[in-house]
């Protein structure tokens, strides 16, 4: 018989659960789910070694274990702390945690440019959610924020260093998914920044996954840049048979009408890429950046979006369209339209396909199509 796996009993926010020894407090809380799970900005379950950088996942340990029930003196990072038998953890039930988390949000936003109206990540940004749920209004920071020029890292990825929170997730992607990492963190402390060594292009097949793991808008998709706001595009699940080894081919397409504006990996409830057959569903750059037609994909259906997310605006569940009765009441005649909006409107012209331009649109694109 197989050796019995040792399980520990842990109580998080008054809910008790049995988890295998060696599980982190964060993962135990995620098994309970909902509000009990602390937010995580740097930990990413699919990237080994991630976590421990951002401190958003701080929790209070009210009792260390049954053997030693003393509370831990300081708040601990739940993504790096493993459970002990009889441990009692307080997350949202602890005022200390709430206060500390608001402080962490303030720290993460110290140098942040707050340029959400421009940023393509807005609407699916973990920092926005974190600030909204756990942050305070206003900042006490009085010094100049650090600034950087935006940088193209490779033909597909744009780096806005000002928005980076130095979570290191992208460097783990480069280390663990691609064979040669050419970018990393340069300098230290206040001066630390993500960069490529002398702006060397990242041309690995899986580099696009950095965009998905980046919790903020620091790494964004250049092929989607400024094309649309995420909440005006409609996410659908789709797949294709991809022959790149390691690519799962299961994606989310972000559509506007029949145009594919963006392709991303499929995300789970924690905002991480979903697993398929126990393997993380990373996708290759061909799927992500080059298959921008609906004919390239088999569409499975509309992606389930949390209804509290702005992305769910305009997407109605169980929508039943009423039957078109105009022809019936008019004896088979077509209604005479007094105006076709496309004759007059300059926006969303049927002949202009923003999704087919390689990078962001510029003034000349619109000049030509007047």
């Amino acid at each position: 018989m197989a050796e019995e796996i040792k399980t520990f009993k842990v109580t998080i926010d008054n809910i008790t659960i049995d988890v295998p020894a060696g599980t982190t407090v964060l993962n135990a809380a995620r098994q309970i789910g909902g509000e009990v799970a602390p937010p995580a900005m740097c930990y990413y379950s699919k990237l080994q070694g991630s976590g421990g950088k951002c401190r958003t996942c701080l929790v209070e340990v009210a009792a260390g274990s049954t053997a030693d029930p003393r509370p831990m003196p300081k708040l601990v990072a739940s993504c790096r702390t493993t459970v002990m038998d009889g441990m009692i953890v307080k997350n949202i039930t602890s005022d200390k945690v709430k206060d500390a988390r608001a402080g962490v949000v303030e720290f993460l936003l110290l140098n942040h440019p707050l340029d959400c109206p421009i940023c393509d990540q807005a609407g699916e940004c973990h920092l926005q959610d974190l600030g909204y749920e756990h942050g305070k209004e206003g900042t006490r920071y009085e010094f100049a924020r650090r600034t950087f020029e935006k940088e193209d890292i490779g033909p597909y990825i744009q780096l806005h260093m000002t928005r980076c929170i130095l979570c290191y997730r992208c460097t783990y992607v480069a280390d663990q998914l691609t064979d040669k990492r050419v970018h990393g963190i340069l300098d230290r402390g206040e001066h630390a920044e993500i960069s490529t060594y002398i702006s060397k292009a990242i041309d690995n097949d899986f580099s696009g996954n950095m965009i998905d793991v980046c919790p903020v808008g620091a790494l964004t998709d250049r092929t989607f840049r400024f094309k649309n706001r995420v909440w005006f595009t409609k996410p659908v699940d789709a797949h294709r048979t991809c022959d790149t080894p390691g690519c799962c081919g299961n994606v989310t397409l972000w559509l506007r009408g029949n145009e594919v504006f963006r392709v991303t990996a499929r995300k789970d409830e924690w905002g991480e890429v979903q697993s398929f057959d126990g393997k993380p569903g990373w996708i290759c750059n061909t799927c992500r950046f080059e298959k921008k037609k609906t004919v390239d994909w088999v569409i499975e259906g509309v992606t389930k979006v949390n209804r509290h997310s702005v992305i769910s605006q305009g997407n109605y569940e169980n929508l039943v369209m009423p039957k078109e009765t105009i022809q019936e009441v008019m004896g088979g005649r077509e209604p005479k339209l007094l105006m076709d909006i496309h004759d007059e409107s300059e926006v969303n012209k049927p002949g202009v396909h923003l999704s087919e331009i390689a990078g962001p649109a510029h003034s000349d694109v619109f000049e030509e199509n007047r």
Partner: protein, 194 residues
Amino acid sequence: MRSLSKAQIITYMQALTNRAKQVERKPMTLLERAYLPAIFKGMAITFGHMFKKRPTINYPEVKRPFSPVFRGLHILNRDEEGRENCTACGLCAVACPAEAITMEAAERKAGEENLYREEKYAAKYEINMLRCIFCGLCEEACPKDAIYLSETFAPANFQRKGFIYGKDDLLIPNPITEPEAFAEARGNRAQVAR
């Protein structure tokens, strides 16, 4: 067919309120039948109004002052250097209950810094005034001080296409190149202190 009494009809019709009154059908008195006294009574009311203050004005020669919270035609704002404020963030469009606003964004090129304040701007921006209900939610939503509802009506038009307002129609005149037009569009209402 069986005829119903009035009271029966009222119960049958299920009056919505308890204020329904039965019409009195008493025969008229002599004074009422004389007809002229009632005419004079009515005329007295009519002529009496001639000496009261008129509630109407002679539009368009005279115009009413707008209330400070009047919500009219939109303008797209510029900053003091004449650059467009709007960054095509789409918040007005998502806030709009009538789905009247559409836009397409573009990236600012080198050399266009004097035209657009931000790295991204609205290359196309349209409001369908036929859909708009002038609720002002777009103005509330805008994080960039870029859209305001002014004290102007959308002028009447014979055709629907006249109500699709593009950027040419919406942008406020440039304060650097056309200061007079800008001052006029800006109006003279005291700036609300923030």
